[in-house]
Protein backbone atom coordinates (compact mmCIF):
# COMPACT_ATOMS: atom_id res chain seq x y z
CA UNK A 1 0.00 0.00 0.00
CA UNK A 2 1.48 3.30 -0.95
CA UNK A 3 0.51 6.60 0.53
CA UNK A 4 0.39 9.09 -2.31
CA UNK A 5 3.12 11.62 -2.03
CA UNK A 6 2.01 15.02 -3.03
CA UNK A 7 5.39 16.47 -3.56
CA UNK A 8 4.09 19.68 -4.95
CA UNK A 9 2.52 22.35 -2.79
CA UNK A 10 5.41 22.28 -0.32
CA UNK A 11 3.92 19.73 1.93
CA UNK A 12 6.02 17.08 3.49
CA UNK A 13 4.36 13.77 3.67
CA UNK A 14 5.50 10.69 5.41
CA UNK A 15 6.29 8.08 2.82
CA UNK A 16 5.72 4.44 3.55
CA UNK A 17 7.76 2.14 1.45
CA UNK A 18 5.56 -0.52 0.01
CA UNK A 19 5.56 -3.91 1.49
CA UNK A 20 3.78 -6.82 -0.01
CA UNK A 21 1.76 -8.89 2.39
CA UNK A 22 4.33 -11.24 3.76
CA UNK A 23 3.75 -14.11 6.06
CA UNK A 24 6.16 -16.39 7.79
CA UNK A 25 6.25 -20.03 8.67
CA UNK A 26 8.43 -21.31 11.46
CA UNK A 27 9.48 -24.89 12.02
CA UNK A 28 9.59 -26.25 15.55
CA UNK A 29 13.34 -26.82 15.33
CA UNK A 30 13.84 -23.07 15.31
CA UNK A 31 11.88 -22.66 18.51
CA UNK A 32 13.88 -25.43 20.13
CA UNK A 33 17.15 -23.89 19.01
CA UNK A 34 16.24 -20.47 20.31
CA UNK A 35 15.18 -21.80 23.69
CA UNK A 36 18.32 -23.86 23.97
CA UNK A 37 20.52 -20.86 23.15
CA UNK A 38 18.61 -18.76 25.65
CA UNK A 39 19.16 -21.30 28.39
CA UNK A 40 22.86 -21.37 27.61
CA UNK A 41 23.44 -17.66 27.28
CA UNK A 42 26.33 -16.06 29.14
CA UNK A 43 25.41 -14.62 32.48
CA UNK A 44 25.63 -10.98 31.68
CA UNK A 45 23.52 -11.09 28.55
CA UNK A 46 19.87 -10.41 28.93
CA UNK A 47 18.81 -11.63 25.60
CA UNK A 48 20.06 -13.77 22.76
CA UNK A 49 20.36 -12.70 19.17
CA UNK A 50 20.85 -14.92 16.20
CA UNK A 51 20.35 -15.50 12.51
CA UNK A 52 17.44 -17.26 10.90
CA UNK A 53 18.02 -19.53 7.93
CA UNK A 54 15.47 -20.79 5.52
CA UNK A 55 14.04 -20.19 2.12
CA UNK A 56 11.40 -18.13 0.43
CA UNK A 57 8.61 -20.18 -1.02
CA UNK A 58 7.19 -19.42 -4.44
CA UNK A 59 4.07 -17.87 -2.99
CA UNK A 60 6.07 -15.35 -1.04
CA UNK A 61 5.92 -16.99 2.37
CA UNK A 62 9.14 -17.03 4.27
CA UNK A 63 9.93 -20.51 5.48
CA UNK A 64 12.21 -20.45 8.51
CA UNK A 65 13.86 -23.80 9.00
CA UNK A 66 17.02 -23.38 11.01
CA UNK A 67 18.79 -20.87 13.17
CA UNK A 68 21.99 -20.25 15.07
CA UNK A 69 22.93 -17.83 17.81
CA UNK A 70 25.44 -15.07 17.33
CA UNK A 71 27.37 -13.68 20.27
CA UNK A 72 26.73 -10.03 20.82
CA UNK A 73 27.18 -7.40 23.47
CA UNK A 74 24.71 -4.75 24.27
CA UNK A 75 24.90 -1.62 26.31
CA UNK A 76 22.59 1.33 26.68
CA UNK A 77 23.37 3.06 23.45
CA UNK A 78 25.29 0.65 21.31
CA UNK A 79 25.15 -2.86 20.12
CA UNK A 80 28.06 -4.95 18.89
CA UNK A 81 27.58 -8.13 16.93
CA UNK A 82 30.25 -10.68 16.15
CA UNK A 83 30.23 -10.49 12.38
CA UNK A 84 33.11 -12.95 11.87
CA UNK A 85 31.23 -15.58 13.77
CA UNK A 86 28.07 -14.91 11.85
CA UNK A 87 29.80 -15.37 8.54
CA UNK A 88 31.72 -18.47 9.49
CA UNK A 89 28.61 -20.16 10.87
CA UNK A 90 26.76 -19.25 7.71
CA UNK A 91 29.42 -20.83 5.55
CA UNK A 92 29.46 -23.96 7.69
CA UNK A 93 25.71 -24.32 7.55
CA UNK A 94 25.64 -23.79 3.83
CA UNK A 95 28.12 -26.56 3.33
CA UNK A 96 25.55 -28.95 4.66
CA UNK A 97 22.49 -27.42 3.11
CA UNK A 98 23.23 -24.95 0.36
CA UNK A 99 19.59 -24.11 -0.13
CA UNK A 100 19.19 -22.43 3.22
CA UNK A 101 19.90 -18.73 3.10
CA UNK A 102 19.53 -15.94 5.58
CA UNK A 103 15.93 -14.87 5.85
CA UNK A 104 16.07 -12.82 8.99
CA UNK A 105 17.17 -12.66 12.56
CA UNK A 106 15.68 -13.36 15.94
CA UNK A 107 15.93 -12.04 19.45
CA UNK A 108 14.43 -13.17 22.70
CA UNK A 109 12.40 -10.80 24.79
CA UNK A 110 9.01 -9.31 24.27
CA UNK A 111 9.14 -6.11 22.32
CA UNK A 112 11.28 -4.51 19.70
CA UNK A 113 13.86 -2.25 21.26
CA UNK A 114 16.04 0.52 19.91
CA UNK A 115 19.02 -1.73 19.60
CA UNK A 116 16.99 -4.02 17.43
CA UNK A 117 16.65 -1.37 14.76
CA UNK A 118 20.40 -1.13 14.46
CA UNK A 119 20.79 -4.88 14.22
CA UNK A 120 18.02 -5.02 11.67
CA UNK A 121 19.80 -2.45 9.60
CA UNK A 122 23.00 -4.46 9.73
CA UNK A 123 21.21 -7.58 8.57
CA UNK A 124 19.35 -5.76 5.87
CA UNK A 125 22.66 -4.83 4.33
CA UNK A 126 23.10 -8.47 3.47
CA UNK A 127 19.57 -9.51 2.64
CA UNK A 128 17.03 -7.11 1.17
CA UNK A 129 13.80 -8.46 2.57
CA UNK A 130 14.13 -9.88 5.98
CA UNK A 131 11.96 -10.65 8.91
CA UNK A 132 12.58 -10.22 12.58
CA UNK A 133 11.34 -12.82 15.01
CA UNK A 134 10.86 -12.19 18.69
CA UNK A 135 10.45 -15.06 21.05
CA UNK A 136 9.33 -14.12 24.49
CA UNK A 137 11.19 -16.47 26.75
CA UNK A 138 10.31 -14.50 29.80
CA UNK A 139 6.64 -15.30 29.38
CA UNK A 140 5.86 -11.69 30.15
CA UNK A 141 2.24 -11.91 29.16
CA UNK A 142 1.76 -15.15 30.95
CA UNK A 143 2.21 -17.01 27.71
CA UNK A 144 5.05 -17.59 25.33
CA UNK A 145 4.51 -15.27 22.44
CA UNK A 146 6.30 -15.59 19.17
CA UNK A 147 5.90 -12.74 16.77
CA UNK A 148 7.37 -11.89 13.43
CA UNK A 149 7.97 -8.43 12.07
CA UNK A 150 9.01 -6.76 8.89
CA UNK A 151 10.57 -3.41 8.99
CA UNK A 152 9.44 -0.45 7.00
CA UNK A 153 11.54 2.61 6.71
CA UNK A 154 9.80 5.81 7.48
CA UNK A 155 11.38 8.61 5.60
CA UNK A 156 10.62 12.23 5.55
CA UNK A 157 11.49 13.74 2.26
CA UNK A 158 14.36 11.34 1.57
CA UNK A 159 15.63 11.49 5.09
CA UNK A 160 15.18 8.38 7.12
CA UNK A 161 13.74 8.96 10.52
CA UNK A 162 12.73 5.69 11.90
CA UNK A 163 12.02 2.13 11.10
CA UNK A 164 8.58 0.87 11.75
CA UNK A 165 8.25 -2.75 12.66
CA UNK A 166 5.08 -4.13 11.28
CA UNK A 167 3.80 -7.45 12.45
CA UNK A 168 3.15 -10.14 9.90
CA UNK A 169 1.09 -13.29 10.29
CA UNK A 170 3.03 -16.22 11.60
CA UNK A 171 2.29 -19.85 11.05
CA UNK A 172 3.91 -22.19 13.51
CA UNK A 173 4.19 -25.39 11.59
CA UNK A 174 4.55 -28.27 13.92
CA UNK A 175 4.57 -30.99 11.31
CA UNK A 176 7.82 -32.57 12.43
CA UNK A 177 6.89 -32.30 16.04
CA UNK A 178 3.72 -34.15 15.24
CA UNK A 179 5.65 -36.93 13.65
CA UNK A 180 7.57 -37.52 16.81
CA UNK A 181 4.60 -37.11 18.98
CA UNK A 182 4.02 -34.17 21.24
CA UNK A 183 4.32 -36.38 24.27
CA UNK A 184 7.95 -37.03 23.57
CA UNK A 185 8.74 -33.39 23.05
CA UNK A 186 6.58 -31.91 25.72
CA UNK A 187 7.63 -33.68 28.83
CA UNK A 188 10.77 -32.79 30.68
CA UNK A 189 11.81 -36.38 30.89
CA UNK A 190 10.63 -39.51 29.26
CA UNK A 191 11.93 -42.85 30.24
CA UNK A 192 12.02 -44.46 26.92
CA UNK A 193 10.91 -43.99 23.40
CA UNK A 194 7.63 -45.80 22.89
CA UNK A 195 7.97 -48.96 20.86
CA UNK A 196 5.84 -49.84 17.86
CA UNK A 197 3.07 -51.58 19.70
CA UNK A 198 2.83 -48.99 22.42
CA UNK A 199 2.51 -46.29 19.81
CA UNK A 200 -0.24 -48.32 18.17
CA UNK A 201 -2.01 -48.58 21.46
CA UNK A 202 -1.80 -44.84 21.97
CA UNK A 203 -3.18 -44.15 18.50
CA UNK A 204 -6.07 -46.49 19.03
CA UNK A 205 -6.77 -44.84 22.33
CA UNK A 206 -6.92 -41.49 20.56
CA UNK A 207 -9.28 -42.85 17.96
CA UNK A 208 -11.52 -44.28 20.62
CA UNK A 209 -11.61 -40.95 22.44
CA UNK A 210 -12.55 -39.21 19.21
CA UNK A 211 -15.37 -41.63 18.54
CA UNK A 212 -16.63 -41.18 22.07
CA UNK A 213 -16.65 -37.42 21.63
CA UNK A 214 -18.62 -37.64 18.44
CA UNK A 215 -21.03 -40.07 20.00
CA UNK A 216 -21.64 -37.72 22.90
CA UNK A 217 -22.09 -34.81 20.54
CA UNK A 218 -24.67 -36.65 18.46
CA UNK A 219 -26.51 -37.73 21.57
CA UNK A 220 -26.60 -34.18 22.83
CA UNK A 221 -27.92 -32.86 19.57
CA UNK A 222 -30.62 -35.49 19.35
CA UNK A 223 -31.79 -34.75 22.85
CA UNK A 224 -31.78 -31.07 22.14
CA UNK A 225 -29.05 -30.10 24.60
CA UNK A 226 -26.86 -28.48 21.97
CA UNK A 227 -27.92 -26.66 18.85
CA UNK A 228 -27.16 -28.70 15.80
CA UNK A 229 -24.45 -27.35 13.60
CA UNK A 230 -24.88 -28.21 9.96
CA UNK A 231 -21.22 -28.23 9.15
CA UNK A 232 -20.38 -30.69 11.88
CA UNK A 233 -23.29 -32.84 10.87
CA UNK A 234 -22.06 -32.92 7.33
CA UNK A 235 -18.56 -33.89 8.44
CA UNK A 236 -19.92 -36.71 10.51
CA UNK A 237 -22.06 -38.05 7.71
CA UNK A 238 -19.09 -37.85 5.32
CA UNK A 239 -16.94 -39.78 7.74
CA UNK A 240 -19.50 -42.46 8.27
CA UNK A 241 -20.19 -42.64 4.55
CA UNK A 242 -16.53 -43.16 3.75
CA UNK A 243 -16.54 -46.53 5.40
CA UNK A 244 -16.51 -48.73 2.36
CA UNK A 245 -19.72 -50.54 1.77
CA UNK A 246 -18.47 -53.81 0.50
CA UNK A 247 -20.64 -56.87 0.75
CA UNK A 248 -19.53 -58.68 3.82
CA UNK A 249 -18.26 -61.79 2.05
CA UNK A 250 -15.91 -59.71 -0.09
CA UNK A 251 -14.76 -57.77 2.90
CA UNK A 252 -14.13 -60.95 4.86
CA UNK A 253 -12.10 -62.28 1.96
CA UNK A 254 -10.01 -59.10 1.80
CA UNK A 255 -9.29 -59.12 5.48
CA UNK A 256 -8.48 -62.80 5.52
CA UNK A 257 -6.14 -62.44 2.56
CA UNK A 258 -4.21 -59.69 4.26
CA UNK A 259 -4.07 -61.67 7.46
CA UNK A 260 -2.69 -64.65 5.62
CA UNK A 261 -0.07 -62.55 3.88
CA UNK A 262 1.15 -61.22 7.14
CA UNK A 263 1.15 -64.64 8.74
CA UNK A 264 3.24 -65.87 5.84
CA UNK A 265 5.76 -63.12 6.41
CA UNK A 266 5.94 -63.93 10.09
CA UNK A 267 6.52 -67.56 9.25
CA UNK A 268 9.30 -66.66 6.82
CA UNK A 269 11.00 -64.49 9.36
CA UNK A 270 10.90 -67.19 12.03
CA UNK A 271 12.32 -69.72 9.59
CA UNK A 272 15.11 -67.29 8.79
CA UNK A 273 15.92 -66.89 12.43
CA UNK A 274 16.14 -70.62 13.02
CA UNK A 275 18.34 -70.86 9.97
CA UNK A 276 20.57 -68.18 11.42
CA UNK A 277 21.08 -69.91 14.72
CA UNK A 278 21.77 -73.16 12.89
CA UNK A 279 24.29 -71.53 10.59
CA UNK A 280 26.04 -69.96 13.48
CA UNK A 281 26.41 -73.27 15.24
CA UNK A 282 27.86 -74.78 12.12
CA UNK A 283 30.25 -71.93 11.61
CA UNK A 284 31.80 -71.64 14.99
CA UNK A 285 31.40 -75.12 16.32
CA UNK A 286 32.91 -76.92 13.38
CA UNK A 287 36.36 -78.20 14.01
CA UNK A 288 38.73 -80.36 12.07
CA UNK A 289 39.21 -83.46 14.11
Amino acid sequence: MEAPSMAAKKRTVLQFSSSQSLSARVHPLVVFNICDCYVRRPDQAERVIGTLLGSILPDGTVDVRNSYAVPHSESVDQVALDIEYHHSMLISHQKVNPKEVIVGWYSTGLGVTGGSALIHEFYSREVPNLIHLTVDTGFAKGAGTIKAYVSNNLSLRDRQIAAQFQEIPLDLRMAEAERIGYDTLKATAIDKIPSDLEGMEASMGHLLALIDDIHKYVDDVVEGRIDPDNKIGRFISDAVGSLTKLPSSDFEKLVNDSLQDHLLLLYLSSITRTQLSLAEKLNTAAQIL
Binding site: D36, S92, E176, K186, A189, D196, H262, S269, L276
Partner: protein, 337 residues
Protein backbone atom coordinates in the same frame (compact mmCIF):
# COMPACT_ATOMS: atom_id res chain seq x y z
CA UNK B 1 48.46 -45.05 62.63
CA UNK B 2 45.18 -45.68 60.84
CA UNK B 3 46.92 -47.01 57.78
CA UNK B 4 44.28 -49.58 57.17
CA UNK B 5 41.38 -47.16 56.97
CA UNK B 6 42.88 -44.07 55.40
CA UNK B 7 44.61 -44.31 52.07
CA UNK B 8 47.37 -41.95 51.27
CA UNK B 9 46.79 -39.36 48.62
CA UNK B 10 49.20 -41.12 46.34
CA UNK B 11 47.23 -44.29 46.55
CA UNK B 12 43.98 -42.61 45.72
CA UNK B 13 45.50 -40.78 42.82
CA UNK B 14 47.05 -43.94 41.54
CA UNK B 15 43.97 -46.10 41.50
CA UNK B 16 42.13 -45.70 38.27
CA UNK B 17 38.48 -44.99 38.43
CA UNK B 18 36.43 -47.81 37.21
CA UNK B 19 33.98 -46.36 34.75
CA UNK B 20 30.43 -47.43 35.55
CA UNK B 21 28.91 -49.24 32.62
CA UNK B 22 26.84 -47.16 30.28
CA UNK B 23 23.23 -47.73 31.10
CA UNK B 24 21.22 -45.05 29.44
CA UNK B 25 21.58 -42.44 26.76
CA UNK B 26 19.76 -39.23 27.50
CA UNK B 27 18.92 -37.20 24.44
CA UNK B 28 17.41 -33.77 24.26
CA UNK B 29 14.38 -33.15 22.12
CA UNK B 30 16.42 -30.58 20.21
CA UNK B 31 18.88 -33.22 19.07
CA UNK B 32 16.12 -35.55 17.94
CA UNK B 33 14.54 -32.80 15.87
CA UNK B 34 17.86 -31.86 14.33
CA UNK B 35 18.67 -35.45 13.41
CA UNK B 36 15.24 -35.98 11.91
CA UNK B 37 15.46 -32.78 9.90
CA UNK B 38 18.91 -33.54 8.56
CA UNK B 39 18.08 -37.12 7.60
CA UNK B 40 14.79 -36.20 6.05
CA UNK B 41 16.22 -33.33 4.02
CA UNK B 42 18.78 -35.54 2.43
CA UNK B 43 16.91 -38.80 2.11
CA UNK B 44 17.31 -41.16 0.33
CA UNK B 45 21.05 -40.63 0.57
CA UNK B 46 22.64 -41.48 3.88
CA UNK B 47 24.07 -38.76 6.04
CA UNK B 48 26.08 -38.52 9.21
CA UNK B 49 26.72 -35.97 11.88
CA UNK B 50 28.44 -35.46 15.16
CA UNK B 51 26.94 -35.68 18.64
CA UNK B 52 27.99 -33.39 21.45
CA UNK B 53 27.24 -33.74 25.10
CA UNK B 54 28.40 -34.86 28.50
CA UNK B 55 29.47 -38.12 29.97
CA UNK B 56 28.06 -38.31 33.49
CA UNK B 57 28.32 -41.50 35.48
CA UNK B 58 26.28 -44.19 33.86
CA UNK B 59 24.32 -41.76 31.73
CA UNK B 60 25.55 -40.34 28.48
CA UNK B 61 23.86 -37.01 27.87
CA UNK B 62 23.58 -35.80 24.31
CA UNK B 63 22.78 -32.11 24.30
CA UNK B 64 23.53 -30.94 20.79
CA UNK B 65 24.62 -32.11 17.41
CA UNK B 66 25.71 -30.81 14.06
CA UNK B 67 25.52 -32.38 10.64
CA UNK B 68 28.44 -33.25 8.40
CA UNK B 69 28.37 -32.02 4.83
CA UNK B 70 28.06 -34.60 2.07
CA UNK B 71 31.46 -35.88 1.16
CA UNK B 72 32.39 -36.67 -2.36
CA UNK B 73 35.08 -39.21 -2.99
CA UNK B 74 37.89 -36.75 -3.22
CA UNK B 75 41.22 -36.52 -1.48
CA UNK B 76 41.24 -32.82 -0.78
CA UNK B 77 37.88 -32.90 0.87
CA UNK B 78 39.44 -34.83 3.77
CA UNK B 79 41.19 -31.75 5.06
CA UNK B 80 38.08 -29.69 4.45
CA UNK B 81 36.04 -32.07 6.50
CA UNK B 82 38.38 -31.80 9.46
CA UNK B 83 38.40 -28.02 9.12
CA UNK B 84 34.64 -27.91 9.07
CA UNK B 85 34.48 -29.94 12.22
CA UNK B 86 36.96 -27.75 14.05
CA UNK B 87 35.20 -24.62 12.89
CA UNK B 88 31.81 -25.83 14.06
CA UNK B 89 33.14 -26.92 17.43
CA UNK B 90 34.83 -23.59 17.93
CA UNK B 91 31.73 -21.63 17.04
CA UNK B 92 29.50 -23.75 19.21
CA UNK B 93 31.90 -23.35 22.08
CA UNK B 94 31.42 -19.61 21.91
CA UNK B 95 27.73 -19.93 22.55
CA UNK B 96 28.30 -22.23 25.50
CA UNK B 97 27.29 -25.46 23.85
CA UNK B 98 28.96 -28.52 25.34
CA UNK B 99 32.10 -28.95 23.35
CA UNK B 100 32.56 -32.59 24.10
CA UNK B 101 32.17 -35.16 21.33
CA UNK B 102 30.27 -38.17 22.55
CA UNK B 103 29.63 -39.98 19.33
CA UNK B 104 28.04 -39.64 15.96
CA UNK B 105 24.74 -40.29 14.30
CA UNK B 106 23.90 -41.70 10.92
CA UNK B 107 20.83 -42.39 8.91
CA UNK B 108 20.10 -45.77 7.47
CA UNK B 109 17.78 -47.40 5.02
CA UNK B 110 15.47 -49.99 6.53
CA UNK B 111 17.99 -51.05 9.10
CA UNK B 112 20.91 -52.05 6.91
CA UNK B 113 23.59 -50.37 8.92
CA UNK B 114 25.75 -53.19 10.23
CA UNK B 115 28.83 -52.83 8.09
CA UNK B 116 32.53 -53.03 8.62
CA UNK B 117 32.77 -49.26 8.21
CA UNK B 118 30.59 -48.81 11.25
CA UNK B 119 32.91 -50.95 13.32
CA UNK B 120 35.95 -49.14 12.03
CA UNK B 121 34.46 -45.76 12.84
CA UNK B 122 33.68 -47.02 16.32
CA UNK B 123 37.27 -48.11 16.82
CA UNK B 124 38.51 -44.74 15.61
CA UNK B 125 36.31 -42.89 18.03
CA UNK B 126 37.09 -45.24 20.86
CA UNK B 127 40.75 -44.36 20.71
CA UNK B 128 40.05 -40.78 21.66
CA UNK B 129 36.91 -40.87 23.68
CA UNK B 130 36.31 -43.18 26.54
CA UNK B 131 32.66 -43.72 25.87
CA UNK B 132 31.02 -43.08 22.60
CA UNK B 133 27.74 -44.05 21.16
CA UNK B 134 26.28 -44.21 17.71
CA UNK B 135 22.71 -43.21 17.07
CA UNK B 136 20.96 -44.72 14.11
CA UNK B 137 17.88 -43.13 12.66
CA UNK B 138 15.72 -44.70 10.02
CA UNK B 139 13.75 -42.04 8.12
CA UNK B 140 11.88 -44.55 5.96
CA UNK B 141 10.06 -45.91 8.97
CA UNK B 142 8.73 -42.55 10.02
CA UNK B 143 6.02 -43.06 7.41
CA UNK B 144 4.67 -45.67 9.73
CA UNK B 145 4.52 -43.20 12.56
CA UNK B 146 7.39 -44.86 14.37
CA UNK B 147 10.34 -42.99 15.80
CA UNK B 148 13.06 -45.37 14.68
CA UNK B 149 15.94 -44.19 16.83
CA UNK B 150 18.50 -46.56 18.28
CA UNK B 151 21.63 -46.06 20.32
CA UNK B 152 24.39 -48.56 19.72
CA UNK B 153 27.71 -49.34 21.18
CA UNK B 154 30.24 -52.05 20.52
CA UNK B 155 30.54 -54.55 23.31
CA UNK B 156 33.87 -54.60 25.11
CA UNK B 157 34.68 -58.22 24.42
CA UNK B 158 34.15 -57.67 20.74
CA UNK B 159 36.39 -54.65 20.74
CA UNK B 160 39.28 -56.57 22.24
CA UNK B 161 38.85 -59.28 19.68
CA UNK B 162 38.75 -56.79 16.86
CA UNK B 163 41.92 -55.15 17.99
CA UNK B 164 43.74 -58.42 17.84
CA UNK B 165 42.13 -58.91 14.42
CA UNK B 166 41.61 -62.53 15.04
CA UNK B 167 38.32 -64.03 14.10
CA UNK B 168 39.03 -67.70 13.94
CA UNK B 169 36.55 -70.19 15.18
CA UNK B 170 38.62 -71.19 18.18
CA UNK B 171 39.02 -67.71 19.51
CA UNK B 172 35.33 -67.11 19.24
CA UNK B 173 34.46 -70.32 20.97
CA UNK B 174 36.92 -69.47 23.67
CA UNK B 175 35.31 -66.17 24.39
CA UNK B 176 31.86 -67.52 23.87
CA UNK B 177 31.13 -64.69 21.50
CA UNK B 178 28.31 -65.02 19.04
CA UNK B 179 26.76 -62.61 16.61
CA UNK B 180 24.41 -61.12 19.14
CA UNK B 181 27.32 -59.89 21.18
CA UNK B 182 28.76 -57.50 18.67
CA UNK B 183 26.46 -54.56 19.14
CA UNK B 184 24.84 -53.55 22.35
CA UNK B 185 21.73 -51.51 22.21
CA UNK B 186 21.33 -48.91 24.92
CA UNK B 187 17.94 -47.57 26.00
CA UNK B 188 17.24 -43.96 25.15
CA UNK B 189 15.69 -41.42 27.46
CA UNK B 190 14.39 -38.12 26.21
CA UNK B 191 14.72 -34.97 28.22
CA UNK B 192 13.77 -31.39 27.55
CA UNK B 193 14.47 -28.17 29.32
CA UNK B 194 11.58 -26.66 31.22
CA UNK B 195 11.46 -23.65 28.93
CA UNK B 196 10.96 -25.65 25.79
CA UNK B 197 8.39 -27.88 27.38
CA UNK B 198 6.47 -24.79 28.43
CA UNK B 199 6.56 -23.53 24.86
CA UNK B 200 5.47 -26.82 23.39
CA UNK B 201 2.61 -27.18 25.83
CA UNK B 202 1.54 -23.73 24.79
CA UNK B 203 1.84 -24.22 21.07
CA UNK B 204 0.29 -27.63 20.81
CA UNK B 205 -2.99 -27.56 18.98
CA UNK B 206 -5.95 -28.90 20.81
CA UNK B 207 -6.76 -31.79 18.56
CA UNK B 208 -6.02 -35.04 20.31
CA UNK B 209 -5.27 -36.77 17.06
CA UNK B 210 -2.06 -35.94 15.26
CA UNK B 211 -0.48 -36.79 11.96
CA UNK B 212 1.43 -39.44 13.78
CA UNK B 213 -1.77 -41.25 14.53
CA UNK B 214 -2.92 -41.02 10.95
CA UNK B 215 0.32 -42.54 9.81
CA UNK B 216 0.07 -45.36 12.26
CA UNK B 217 -3.48 -46.25 11.36
CA UNK B 218 -2.78 -46.47 7.66
CA UNK B 219 -3.57 -49.83 6.18
CA UNK B 220 -1.08 -50.05 3.35
CA UNK B 221 2.26 -51.39 4.44
CA UNK B 222 3.01 -53.43 1.37
CA UNK B 223 5.78 -51.24 -0.05
CA UNK B 224 7.66 -51.27 3.22
CA UNK B 225 7.30 -55.01 3.59
CA UNK B 226 8.36 -55.60 0.03
CA UNK B 227 11.55 -53.65 0.45
CA UNK B 228 12.24 -55.39 3.70
CA UNK B 229 11.83 -58.77 2.05
CA UNK B 230 14.06 -57.76 -0.85
CA UNK B 231 16.83 -56.76 1.48
CA UNK B 232 16.33 -59.92 3.47
CA UNK B 233 16.68 -62.06 0.37
CA UNK B 234 19.83 -60.25 -0.70
CA UNK B 235 21.33 -60.75 2.70
CA UNK B 236 20.51 -64.42 2.64
CA UNK B 237 22.38 -64.66 -0.63
CA UNK B 238 25.38 -62.96 0.95
CA UNK B 239 25.21 -65.28 3.91
CA UNK B 240 25.18 -68.34 1.72
CA UNK B 241 28.21 -66.99 -0.14
CA UNK B 242 30.06 -66.66 3.12
CA UNK B 243 29.09 -70.15 4.11
CA UNK B 244 30.40 -71.49 0.84
CA UNK B 245 33.70 -69.84 1.61
CA UNK B 246 33.83 -71.74 4.87
CA UNK B 247 32.98 -75.01 3.22
CA UNK B 248 35.70 -74.46 0.68
CA UNK B 249 38.16 -73.72 3.44
CA UNK B 250 37.28 -76.85 5.36
CA UNK B 251 37.46 -78.99 2.30
CA UNK B 252 40.87 -77.69 1.33
CA UNK B 253 42.02 -78.04 4.90
CA UNK B 254 41.04 -81.70 5.02
CA UNK B 255 42.64 -82.24 1.61
CA UNK B 256 45.81 -80.67 2.84
CA UNK B 257 45.84 -82.86 5.88
CA UNK B 258 45.43 -85.93 3.74
CA UNK B 259 48.37 -84.78 1.64
CA UNK B 260 50.42 -84.21 4.75
CA UNK B 261 49.68 -87.71 5.95
CA UNK B 262 50.67 -89.18 2.61
CA UNK B 263 53.91 -87.21 2.59
CA UNK B 264 54.66 -88.28 6.14
CA UNK B 265 54.14 -91.92 5.22
CA UNK B 266 56.53 -91.58 2.35
CA UNK B 267 59.11 -89.95 4.57
CA UNK B 268 58.82 -92.69 7.13
CA UNK B 269 59.22 -95.33 4.50
CA UNK B 270 62.32 -93.53 3.21
CA UNK B 271 63.72 -93.31 6.70
CA UNK B 272 63.24 -97.01 7.19
CA UNK B 273 65.09 -97.64 3.98
CA UNK B 274 67.88 -95.31 5.03
CA UNK B 275 68.19 -96.91 8.44
CA UNK B 276 68.48 -100.24 6.75
CA UNK B 277 71.22 -98.73 4.58
CA UNK B 278 72.84 -97.12 7.62
CA UNK B 279 72.33 -93.45 6.68
CA UNK B 280 70.99 -90.51 8.64
CA UNK B 281 67.23 -90.44 8.82
CA UNK B 282 65.66 -87.43 7.23
CA UNK B 283 63.54 -85.13 9.39
CA UNK B 284 59.89 -85.91 9.52
CA UNK B 285 58.85 -82.36 8.90
CA UNK B 286 59.71 -80.18 6.03
CA UNK B 287 58.48 -76.64 6.34
CA UNK B 288 59.56 -75.69 2.86
CA UNK B 289 57.20 -78.17 1.28
CA UNK B 290 54.08 -76.37 0.11
CA UNK B 291 51.99 -79.18 1.51
CA UNK B 292 52.67 -77.90 4.97
CA UNK B 293 51.79 -74.28 4.40
CA UNK B 294 49.06 -73.32 6.84
CA UNK B 295 45.89 -72.21 5.15
CA UNK B 296 44.45 -68.90 6.30
CA UNK B 297 41.10 -69.28 7.91
CA UNK B 298 38.53 -66.86 6.54
CA UNK B 299 37.40 -64.25 8.97
CA UNK B 300 34.00 -64.70 10.44
CA UNK B 301 33.37 -61.01 10.88
CA UNK B 302 31.42 -60.58 7.64
CA UNK B 303 29.12 -63.45 8.36
CA UNK B 304 28.45 -62.11 11.82
CA UNK B 305 27.56 -58.72 10.46
CA UNK B 306 25.30 -60.19 7.83
CA UNK B 307 23.62 -62.31 10.45
CA UNK B 308 23.01 -59.22 12.51
CA UNK B 309 21.43 -57.47 9.58
CA UNK B 310 19.18 -60.38 8.81
CA UNK B 311 17.96 -60.58 12.34
CA UNK B 312 17.27 -56.86 12.23
CA UNK B 313 15.12 -57.27 9.15
CA UNK B 314 13.28 -60.13 10.77
CA UNK B 315 12.57 -58.03 13.81
CA UNK B 316 11.24 -55.25 11.68
CA UNK B 317 9.01 -57.59 9.77
CA UNK B 318 7.66 -58.93 13.03
CA UNK B 319 6.96 -55.44 14.30
CA UNK B 320 5.21 -54.28 11.20
CA UNK B 321 3.18 -57.46 10.97
CA UNK B 322 2.05 -57.03 14.53
CA UNK B 323 0.87 -53.55 13.78
CA UNK B 324 -0.91 -54.68 10.66
CA UNK B 325 -2.75 -57.36 12.57
CA UNK B 326 -3.99 -54.70 14.94
CA UNK B 327 -5.19 -52.54 12.09
CA UNK B 328 -6.89 -55.37 10.27
CA UNK B 329 -8.82 -56.46 13.32
CA UNK B 330 -9.80 -52.85 13.91
CA UNK B 331 -11.16 -52.64 10.36
CA UNK B 332 -13.05 -55.82 10.85
CA UNK B 333 -14.66 -54.57 14.02
CA UNK B 334 -15.59 -51.27 12.41
CA UNK B 335 -17.19 -53.04 9.52
CA UNK B 336 -19.31 -55.25 11.64
CA UNK B 337 -21.04 -52.26 13.12
Amino acid sequence: MPAATARSFLQVAATEEVAPPLRVVQIEGLVILKIIKHCKDHSPSLVTGQLLGLDVGSVLEVTNCFPFPMREEDEEIEADGANYQLEMMRCLREVNVDNNTVGWYQSTLLGSFQTVELIETFMNYQENIRRCVCIIYDPSRSDQGVLALKALKLSDSFMELYRSNNFTGEKLREKNLSWVDIFEEIPIKVSNSALISAFMTELEPDTPVTQCDYDRLQLSTSSLMERNMEFLIECMDDLSLEQQKFQFYYRSLSRQQAQQQAWLQKRRAENMARKAAGEEPLPEEDPSNPVFKPLPEPSRLESFLITNQISNYCNQINGVSGQSFNRLYLMKALHED
